[in-house]
């Protein structure tokens, strides 16, 4: 019976068009994040240069896999900073270039160029290709948004459920902790931590956001537990001989997850925005690494002279947050057994 549940959830999820659309979109975004070295890079994906075959772009994808950089060597001479890639590509007997043949960090004299055939989304104030930066920023934003909320969800669910179910001193301690974290100016706490960390990176941002964003989740979970703890099915489970862990995990949590899951998905958007704010202040993802937040902030400064720079990161953040929320709602609805009757239309 347990094995039958996952396909059932999937079957019901598949019927939700927005949910499927969002899932497809997020999978696409994840693919963009993983494949960024072949989507936006000045290095060619593959080329025959001076009689030899090179795969600089593909090597880049392989090297972006965690720990693989120790095994997979860089594609020389293409990876050397002094190497003239443009000339080499021109000299190659054939070359397949990346879709966006620019690196996110490549400066050029073409500053604030409007969108054109060369630069699809234009260039920023340092002449960097916006499309390339957007592609590379996807990885940062997804990591921060999903990673931070996975962490916050874990902490919030565990602490909230424990507090609400156990009550007593546990509840008092956890509730005060929630209030403490909520009252704290979280943004400054994050700033303080990021200053204290010697070499801030994406992982630090994930942890710092994750460990401060759990309070609404914990509060909601605690309230759900208080509501469900005295419910008759919880008493029935105890009467059946279920221990506290079983009552909590098998009976209460499944019934409490729906609103909590939605809160978590909303948090993903929030985390992406916090990362943007941090990056703007210079305490997030270290510059010049591209992130949507960094891009948005620099575009904001130039909104008078180059308004077209605002749209790409805005739309990217908006669409991502929207898709995550739709996905969360669809999963919630699919997980609710009563959802089936929704499809019945009178008439």
């Amino acid at each position: 019976m347990l094995q039958a549940r996952a396909p059932r959830l999937w079957r019901r999820f598949r019927r939700r068009r927005l949910g499927m659309l969002s899932l497809a979109g997020l999978v696409l975004l994840a693919a963009v994040a993983v494949l960024r070295p072949v989507l936006a890079s000045r290095l060619p994906i593959v080329c025959r240069y001076e009689g030899r075959l090179y795969f600089p772009g593909l090597v880049g994808v392989l090297r972006s896999v965690p720990f693989a950089s120790a095994v997979v060597e860089e594609s020389r001479p293409f990876s050397l900073p002094s190497f003239d890639v443009e000339k080499a590509v021109a000299d190659s007997s054939f070359a397949v270039r990346a879709l966006i043949p620019y690196d996110p960090l490549d400066y050029s004299s073409e500053v604030r160029a409007r969108p054109s055939r060369q630069h699809w989304l234009g260039t920023d104030d340092l002449g960097r290709d916006v499309a390339a930066r957007l592609v590379h920023g996807t990885a940062v934003s997804l990591k921060v948004g999903l990673g931070a909320m996975a962490l916050a969800g874990l902490v919030g669910i565990v602490l909230g459920a424990w507090a609400g179910y156990a009550g007593g001193i546990v509840d008092v301690v956890v509730s005060r902790l929630i209030e403490l974290v909520m009252c704290f100016p979280v943004f400054f706490l994050i700033l303080a931590v990021m200053v204290w960390v010697e070499e801030p990176g994406v992982t630090h941002v994930v942890f710092v956001i994750g460990l401060t964003a759990w309070t609404p989740i914990a509060r909601l979970m605690r309230a759900e537990m208080l509501r469900l703890r005295g419910s008759e099915f919880a008493v029935a489970a105890r009467a059946l001989g279920a221990g506290p862990v079983r009552v909590l995990v098998r009976h209460l949590l499944p019934n409490a997850m729906a609103p909590v899951a939605v809160t978590i998905t909303f948090g993903v958007g929030h985390a992406i925005l916090i990362e943007a704010g941090l990056s703007w202040l210079g305490f997030g993802v270290p510059p010049p690494a591209p992130s949507w937040g960094v891009m948005l902030r620099s575009a904001y400064d130039q909104i008078q002279s180059a308004p077209f720079l605002v749209y790409p990161p805005c739309v990217a953040i908006f669409v991502t947050v929207l898709m995550v929320n739709w996905l969360g709602e669809a999963v919630r609805d699919a997980a609710d057994p009563r959802g089936e009757s929704e499809n019945l239309v009178p008439g």
Partner: protein, 338 residues
């Protein structure tokens, strides 16, 4: 097993108190209740809403903490048993709740719900769980194929069948039925009752049967206890209680049952007002403010349960139990209707 006359369940001076939150008051939900429940018999528990029936039912299963007194199940004192010992015993005593929708987790299939007890107590493993669930579902009048369905997909009567199957799957000896049919419509009530009666016969079950419907208690139970404000005011064999009620409250309850063939009555009784709050019970007999026959002694001394002159097993907590009140003028003039 123990011999048949050894009670399966005893309650001795059982009390359940709650502190009233915010105040210093104490609510006596169950007060000094004593009874024996013999194997393969059914004790009916009747009384108005709020009189402590459900709390008593949960206290004997140790689902709420016992404040005073003892609950003895098959010779074992449960009142201070804890944790895993108690959980292991739960296999032998089960409960069916009033609201079948509320007592089934909305996110759990029927098969998972009925199989849960088997998993908890490791009574079956693997596919044997499925077989047992199918067997139980069929025994209570559902189909094995229903195990993939969710509670919301069933009717009230079907849900109560699921709750019964879940309770019986672990093979209990005692089944507490807490108003098992009062949330159901009348046709489903009859079906569930006859199911419960059939199961009792087939499995030799012992029931503690709570109801506010006296007609149901009359048809199902061997003995009846009447509860008022957390106390037993009358307990005895069904026939004795129903035919010769000793407590005025029992008489009032019996009179309130609509009779399809009205017979000439001694006098039509009715109580006045609402029952007092269990957090501030009246002094003396708890029923005296509403009793048509209350005299001075009732206002000062609380009557204990005493055997009546007619039958020793029939005990009544009323100062005037041995008087023939059928002709007495109710001292409380507004308590009588023509």
């Amino acid at each position: 097993m123990s011999n048949a006359t050894f009670p399966l369940l005893c309650a001795k001076d059982l009390s359940v108190r709650y502190r009233v939150s915010g105040g210093r008051g104490v609510l006596m939900a169950v007060n000094d209740v004593t009874f024996d429940l013999l194997r393969a018999t059914t004790l009916g528990l009747v009384g108005e809403s709020g009189c402590g029936k459900t709390t008593l039912a949960r206290a004997v299963l140790r689902l709420v903490p016992v404040s005073d007194g003892q609950v003895v199940f098959d010779g074992l004192d449960l009142s201070h048993l804890s944790g895993s010992h108690l959980r292991r015993l739960r296999r032998r005593m089960q409960i069916v709740f009033q609201d079948p929708l509320g007592s089934l987790s909305p996110r759990m299939t029927i098969g998972d719900a009925v199989g849960e007890g088997l998993r908890i107590h490791r009574l079956r493993r693997g596919s044997a769980i499925r077989d047992r669930v199918a067997e139980m579902l069929e025994r209570v009048g559902l189909q094995a194929a229903d195990m993939v369905r969710y509670p919301y997909e069933l009717s009230g009567g079907q849900r109560q069948r699921v709750a019964i199957a879940r309770a019986l799957a672990v093979g209990p000896e005692l089944l507490v039925c807490d108003e098992p049919v009062s949330a159901l419509d009348v046709s489903a009530q009859a079906q569930i009752l006859s199911l419960l009666v059939g199961l009792r016969r087939d499995f030799g079950l012992t029931y503690l049967f709570i109801s506010h419907n006296l007609a149901i208690v009359d048809s199902v139970c061997d003995a009846v206890a009447v509860m008022y404000l957390g106390r037993f005011v009358e307990i005895g064999p069904r026939a004795a209680v129903f035919e010769n009620p000793g407590h005025p409250y029992t008489r009032v309850l019996l009179e309130s049952v609509p009779d399809p063939e009205p017979r000439p009555r001694r006098a039509s009784l009715r109580t006045i007002g609402e029952p007092a709050s269990p957090s501030s019970p009246p002094p003396g007999c708890p029923f005296h403010p509403r009793c048509p026959f209350a005299v001075d002694v009732c206002r000062h001394d609380r009557p204990e349960l005493r055997a009546t002159s007619s039958a020793p097993a029939h005990r009544v907590a009323c100062h005037r139990a041995d008087e023939d009140l059928s002709g007495a003028t109710p001292s409380n003039a507004s308590g009588i209707t023509a």
